[in-house]
């Protein structure tokens, strides 16, 4: 695997004329030391030189993540984008406390993340709703698990309204559409008031119309609740449409290549000039802009 020479800004594009590109990330491999994180006072989540290797069935080791550092500000919407297999899920699972890093540290609000908790909400790609529970029961699962259901019972209805599922309270997951199910999964995590909501390609399995619909819902919820969001996605447009900051990762070993800030005010127009220019840059970085992308960057 070769890291291509990156002339300016570490991103292989002319960053001087593109103020949204974070020039402090000079090269992918030094992004860590010069993490363009917001000043530490607003920081809610800190990922500090995290490394993780897996051993596959044949005994080969796969370096899923090498020396990844990232800082997320309170209320920020961060997207992680990168080709398949570059360790996005691995990273998100470690943030959630579902996996432990080999070295490095993950810190939430000054506290080391050691195990999963309701503070770190997680929305899986699909199929994580409990099939034996109704929509209503799924949404109240966290409240019940923590023994606060009685006090907060009224919130369940609010959230069902918020995600537009009124009338489907008593439906079971297999009786609703995939898009509806993902909205339930988002509500189920949000009702716990997590400090950070982690979303692992929550719309990956959905068609583009449903996806746009949920993106708007997600933005609406984010603005209303001001929850910090970390979204893993394959979809460049989705990342630009939603995030304050986009993290670009490269595979084998999984590393952060750079950051892109998106300063377009909401609501964003998917066809706007700034939008398209950022889009072009990202595609450029991912080597997808031209007709034949290098195979290892295929998404």
């Amino acid at each position: 695997m070769s890291v291509q020479p990156l002339p300016i800004g570490g991103l292989g594009i002319d960053a001087i004329n593109r103020p949204h590109i974070d020039t402090s990330a000079k090269r992918a491999d030094i992004a860590r030391s010069e993490n363009p994180s917001p000043s530490s006072d607003g920081e809610i989540l800190k990922i500090d030189s995290v490394t993780r290797t897996y051993t596959d069935a044949e005994g080969n080791t796969v370096e899923a993540l090498r020396d990844v550092s990232l800082s997320v500000k309170r209320g920020e919407f961060v997207s992680i984008i990168g080709s398949s297999g570059c360790g996005k899920t691995t990273l998100l699972r470690m943030i959630a406390g579902l996996d432990a890093p080999e070295s490095g540290e993950l810190v939430l609000n000054g506290e080391r993340i050691a195990r999963p908790s309701q503070k770190l909400g997680y929305v899986f790609q699909q199929g994580s709703l409990f099939p034996w529970q109704t929509v209503e029961q799924n949404i109240s699962a966290g409240l019940k698990a923590r023994g606060v259901y009685k006090e907060r019972k009224a919130d369940v209805k609010t959230y069902i309204e918020l995600i537009g599922l009124t009338g489907f309270e008593k439906s079971f997951p297999h009786q609703i559409s995939g898009g509806m199910a993902q909205r339930v999964a988002i509500a189920r995590a949000l009702i716990n008031n997590p400090a950070v909501l982690l979303l692992d390609e929550p719309m990956g399995a959905l068609d583009s119309l449903t996806r746009a619909d949920i993106q708007c819902k997600l933005l609406e919820l984010w603005k209303k609740r001001n929850t910090t969001m970390v979204l893993v996605t394959h979809d460049v447009d989705e990342a630009i449409f939603l995030s304050d900051r986009i993290v670009i990762m490269t595979p084998r070993p999984g590393k952060i290549q750079g950051f892109i800030s998106v300063k377009i005010p909401h609501p964003r127009h998917r066809g706007g000039i700034e939008f398209l220019s950022i889009r072009r840059d990202i595609l450029e970085v991912l080597h997808l802009a031209r007709a034949n992308p290098a195979p290892e960057y295929m998404i």
Partner: protein, 352 residues
Amino acid sequence: MNLRKKSGGAALVFSGSAANKTVSNAKFIWMMAASVAGFLLALLANAFFPQAAHSAAFKEYTALGVTLDMNGAYRLTLALLIALYAGGGIFAYFAPSGRAKYAKRAAFLFALGAALALWDIFGTKLSLLPQPFFPGPAKIIESFLIEGGYIWQNTLYSLRLFAVGFLAGVAFGIGTGILIGWFPKAYYWVYPVLKTTGVIPAVAWMPFALTLFPTPFSAAAFLIIICVWFPVASLTAAGISGTPKTYFEAARTLGAKTPYLVFRVAIPHAMPNIFTGISTATAFAFTTLVIAEMMGQPGGLGYYINASKVWSAYYKVFAAIVVMAILFSVIMRALELVRGRVLRWQKGMVKS
């Protein structure tokens, strides 16, 4: 929005499928007639077919101020069946959803009635079947005239024994299954024992059970417990350990601790399996119940069969078998209802 339409769409589909199954009024009345015609035929056959080779009049019994011989009791039974199905038909007539189901049964009921008529003619009227091994239907019903109360007592004994053994076995089986499915240590130590002892038919333990337990009742209950325990425990364990990791992870990110993971994630996931285990266990339990009763109980339908056989009263044996058929069907049906209720969430998700 498009979501709103969903219920409308569902209603459409429903009315569509109902339309396919709707039985027209005229056809339904035919079906009702067919349902009762067989029994009516049997009744007429019994009333008017001449009795051959039986000079003496049949013995008469008086109960609740009514005096009946066996043919009278048989005809009364047929009349009750006719009333039941006619009533059911009238009820279904006004409940369109029940019509198709009722109509589907008509042919079978007609055949059943016709078969009773033939059996009555060849068994009782013409006495062509070898006696006393194959009594006619009226003769079987005579058992209830002779000792209905005693049969009832034995039925209650069986029911009590079944209930105790079955419920304890299910509880014990689910408990063991959870332990094996959840704790690797329990799996290591208990599973081999379960696997090897579980395949032994429970009645093989009879000699031990009879000496170890203070009463025959508790010995038989023990046998039922172990025969229910095995399938329920192994299927519960499989259901628990087969729970997809994602469900546990999702629950943990929602703040769930171990009790929630066991009781609200693993056990609900294992429920379909548990019910499969229970229905297997039910069949085992019926067998064990009857064999245990035949081998050393002071009561029960199995005991009654044995006791009647000694006197060559085969018609009583048949009577006990009829009672068993009804009793066990009712138990199976009740379990099915519980299953349908508990696994409501699976409806439409899995085949059947």
